[in-house]
């Protein structure tokens, strides 16, 4: 029985992962290069091809204006929100960007919105999963920071759609981590999850009870993470360089990226070494060198660590708990490897936090558990259920620019509220509602979510219509609005203008675009992979010809191999994947005998005159590729 697989995806600021549940255990699916982490970097190579991951990270250093990193920091945001980021980001925004428009970033001669860029990363993860399973993957659970607002969540969902994935659920990162933790420990109690990642910080307090993971309170800062630590160090280095050498290299993208790389390496090493040296070669060959001690690093980064304290205190307050009442603390996110952060967490919660689960992988593993639950569950997850909350209060703008709160923060979701509106003018056919998220009293201090235009109200004297509007926050934390004029019973037509998001039409056309590109990309990819395989097999054959195995073949066998080789060479530089595949398989088949002979020869020559311990079985024929090429029907 083939059940359609649902994967769990951690779409992180710095790294992304895809995982699934194998039996009772969640596992991360590695990429082609065998690594579990896919750097969340997207670049455009010299040939104009989109590249994701480790390759893109290399391009970021070489051609920084043609790469984007930490795109998560741009999701669901407007130009005015990212002014700080722009100072140190090497990439450019599209020139013709209008105020209020969704951001567009230039990559080569094209431009892309943040959801489209995230979609490239998601597509890479999807490919990794499909290669691993040898089957299509169309459904996923994607994680988001708990403190992400509606626009940021919607942008993530849009990214999933553009990547060809049906996003069954958005799960909050700390909650996902608690799933992985809870699966592992199977205990009841109150836990706190402290999640400090590359760009976002979340603190969630949960009650675990017989498989129910109930979030009691959550807080955080979606603009706080390892990147801020890096940026601080980069700025200091740039100031240093300007002071010492009189060079202002802020606009020199390659140098900034080189400094960034050095700073990140230094930061990581300082978690285990007391002192490191920062070495960067500046343009013109001048070296820049600076020693940083752990103490100095803590001094420089402390303001950033301290910014996590207020959200933690507020979460405890909202939960109605004192720190001693938290029974376990779980650390999530690469930045929690910093010893000073662990110390801070210990001071806040008066106990040693858990760090046995890999802080880079735990969120993806939790997402895989949730994916499993949604796909129908297995023995391990049968009793498990997530009850999450909305992190921000939802309100409506009222007269005088004040906010009337209708759904309070930390309300368990799905949650709803019903409000009644009426008209101010005779015959008024439309009513406009401005919905916001946040805790402040004035609309101007809250985050605008969207404007809803209720249309088609039957003509009536002012004040007579009774429009019932239902606000529903779904299990993803995303708002849905429906309205009905009660006197006439008529459903109002609602036009939504998201403040920081793409309209449905825009997403649809991006899906179509990516579709065409995906077909193209996929085809091109297949051809490239086949060509690589062909090269490998021909190299092995060349080696085999010079060895004793070749001599042992009959003349007929040798002629056959040569014929197949010629056949492969004829098609391998072309574009016809099917022909290439056929030729590769034929040559593989035709050389099985030779391969065996080569193997025997290699073993016996290695053993000749050596004792068993001295045998070096290093150079045998190359092992078959660990992942069989994905074979699936294109059913689009």
């Amino acid at each position: 029985m083939s059940e359609e697989r649902v994967v769990g995806i951690d779409l992180g600021t710095t790294n992304s992962l895809v995982a699934y549940m194998q039996g009772d255990e969640p596992l991360v699916i590695p990429g082609e290069d065998g690594s579990n982490l896919v750097p969340s970097v997207v670049a455009i190579d010299p040939q104009g091809q989109i590249v994701v991951g480790n390759l893109a990270r290399t391009l970021l250093i070489e051609t920084p204006e043609r790469a984007v990193y930490s795109v998560k920091r741009l999701m669901g945001r407007g130009v005015e929100d990212i002014q700080d980021e722009l100072k140190l980001f090497p990439f450019r925004l599209a020139e013709d960007l209008q105020p209020g428009e969704v951001l567009r970033i230039k990559l080569g001669d094209k431009d892309f919105t943040p959801p489209e860029i995230s979609a490239f990363i998601l597509r890479q993860l999807r490919r990794n999963a499909e290669r691993y399973f040898g089957a299509p993957v169309r459904k996923a659970v994607i994680t988001v920071p708990a403190y992400f607002n509606d626009a940021q969540r919607q942008a993530t969902k849009d990214a999933g759609r553009i990547a060809g994935l049906e996003v069954l659920r958005l799960v909050n990162e700390p909650t996902a981590a608690s799933l992985a933790y809870g699966l592992d420990k199977k205990k009841n109690g109150i836990i706190a999850v402290y999640d400090l990642g590359g760009g976002t910080f979340d603190i969630s307090i949960l009650k675990l009870h017989d498989g129910i993971f109930e979030v009691i309170a959550t807080n955080g800062d979606t603009h706080l993470g390892g990147d801020d630590i890096d940026n601080r160090l980069i700025t200091i280095a740039l100031d240093d360089i300007q002071g010492d050498l009189g060079m202002d290299l802020r606009r020199h993208a390659e140098t900034v990226q080189a400094i960034r790389k050095a700073v990140i390496e230094a930061k990581i090493r300082l978690s285990s070494e007391p002192e490191v040296s920062l070495d960067v070669t500046l343009p013109g060959g001048k070296p820049y060198q600076r020693t940083i001690s752990r103490e100095k690093f803590i001094e420089l980064a402390e303001p950033i660590f301290q910014r996590t304290v207020a959200p933690c205190r507020q979460a405890l307050k909202d939960a109605g708990l004192r720190p001693e009442q938290i029974e376990e603390v779980v650390l999530v996110g690469g930045s929690t490897r910093i010893p000073r952060v662990r110390q801070l967490v210990e001071e806040l919660f008066l106990r040693v936090p858990h760090s046995e689960l890999n802080p880079d992988e735990v969120v993806a593993l939790g997402a895989a558990v949730q994916a499993n639950i949604l796909a129908g569950g297995s023995q391990a997850t049968q009793e498990m259920l997530l009850l999450d909350v909305t992190p921000l209060s939802l309100g409506i703008e009222a007269l005088g620019g004040v906010v009337a709160r209708i759904i309070h923060r930390n309300s368990t979701i799905p949650a709803s509220a019903t409000e009644h509106f009426t008209t101010g003018v005779d015959g008024q056919a439309n009513v406009a509602i401005h919905v916001l998220q946040g805790e402040r009293e004035l609309a101007a201090d809250c985050r605008s979510l969207a404007r809803f235009d209720l249309k088609g109200i039957p003509p009536m004297p002012a004040g007579l219509p009774r429009i019932e509007v239902k606000f529903l926050i779904d299990a993803n934390g995303i708002l849905h609005v429906s309205a009905r004029e009660q006197r006439s019973g008529k459903e109002a037509e609602i036009e939504v203008q998201p403040s920081y998001g793409l309209t449905d039409d825009q997403v649809e056309s991006m899906i179509l675009d990516s579709f065409d590109n995906a077909e193209e990309d996929f085809r091109r990819r297949q051809v490239i992979e086949a060509r690589n395989e062909a090269n490998t097999i021909l190299a092995a054959l060349a080696k085999g010809r010079s060895g004793p195995g070749w001599q042992q073949l009959t003349s007929d066998e040798r002629k056959q191999v040569e014929k197949l080789e010629k056949g492969l060479r004829a098609v391998m530089d072309g574009d016809d994947y099917a022909a290439m595949r056929k030729a590769i398989d034929a040559l593989n088949q035709g050389t099985t005998n030779l391969a065996e002979l080569m193997m025997d020869a290699a073993v016996s020559s290695a053993l000749k005159g050596k004792t068993f311990e001295q045998v070096d079985v290093g150079e045998g024929p190359s092992a078959p590729h660990p992942f069989a090429p994905a074979e699936f029907k294109t059913e689009r």
């Binding site: 069954l168 659920r169 009870h209 017989d210 129910i212 949730q370 639950i373 949604l374 796909a375 129908g376 259920l385 997530l386 009850l387 409506i396 009222a398 007269l399 005088g400 004040v402 906010v403 009337a404 709160r405 209708i406 309300s411 368990t412 979701i413 799905p414 949650a415 709803s416 509220a417 409000e419 009644h420 509106f421 009426t422 529903l472 926050i473 779904d474 299990a475």
Partner: protein, 253 residues
């Protein structure tokens, strides 16, 4: 039909005029799930008490409520309907939001009381937070009614607050005034707690009246009295909370 069937676990049959058949297997429709085949049912307009199969009583065991909440969540949550029809997914979404709203309201004693009073036809109190938000939402100015026994105190306090605010603007700090205000705040907070205790006393009274009503007695007159008393207590309590908030703003702001 359906009027006197006993509740059994989470399959509760409401005292509803219409009992139609389960859309899936045809048997008697239950509040949340079909008794026979277990399929989720379309949402019914139920008040929060009936949603949980509870009588309209003010004392309730939070542990029992929580257990029921978890049990219903395990069956109604959208995560469990990811592979069901779009229609069932819609129902599960509506019902679980109903469940969460109901649990949130009934869990807290004050919101529980406010909700029950609302069911009993009371217009929400002028000073409550809900009234504030509602007034804002519809663009009206909130009515301010001072509880009579607090009139003098409130007058005095408002003068002190005015003075403190002016001082703040000028950058002055009057330590004596600050101390006085802190003292008043303490006094108000004690009153606030005392009102809650008093309210709890009336819960017991209310519940007794409901029990008597269930056995057929006409307690509507007595209920109205208790209801009005509770409304008064809640009003005063809200008013005092707002005063404390004003003091805090000035002292800490």
């Amino acid at each position: 039909m359906a009027a006197s069937q006993k509740p059994s676990g989470t399959s509760i049959i409401l005292n509803h005029e219409e009992s139609s058949a389960c859309w899936s297997c045809g048997s008697m429709r239950a509040a949340h799930f079909c008794n026979a085949c277990g399929k989720v049912q379309p949402p019914l307009p139920a008040d929060y008490f009936s949603f949980f199969g509870l009588p309209r009583k003010l004392n309730l065991d939070p542990a029992v409520l929580e257990r029921e909440f978890y049990q219903l969540s395990r069956k109604l949550h959208p995560d469990l309907f990811a592979r069901s029809s779009a229609e069932e997914q819609g129902w599960s979404l509506q019902k679980s939001s109903q469940l969460n709203d109901a649990y949130r309201t009934l869990k807290d004693p004050i919101t529980r009381t406010e909700y029950l009073l609302k069911l009993e036809g009371v217009q929400l109190e002028e000073q409550s937070k809900t009234a504030t938000d509602q007034a804002r939402a519809s663009g009206q100015v909130k009515k301010q009614v001072v509880p009579p026994e607090l009139l003098e105190e409130v007058f005095e306090l408002n003068m002190q607050l005015e003075e403190a605010r002016m001082n703040k603007k000028a950058g002055d700090v009057d330590q004596d005034l600050a101390r006085q205000l802190a003292q008043t705040r303490q006094h108000l907070e004690e009153k606030f707690d005392a009102l809650f205790q008093e309210l709890q006393g009336y819960w017991a009274e209310w519940d007794t009246l409901i029990t008597r009503a269930e056995s057929g007695q006409d307690t509507s007159g007595e209920r109205r009295k208790v209801r009005d008393t509770m409304v008064g207590l809640l009003n005063r309590r809200s008013y005092i909370r707002n005063l404390v908030r004003d003091v805090n703003e000035v002292l800490e702001g």
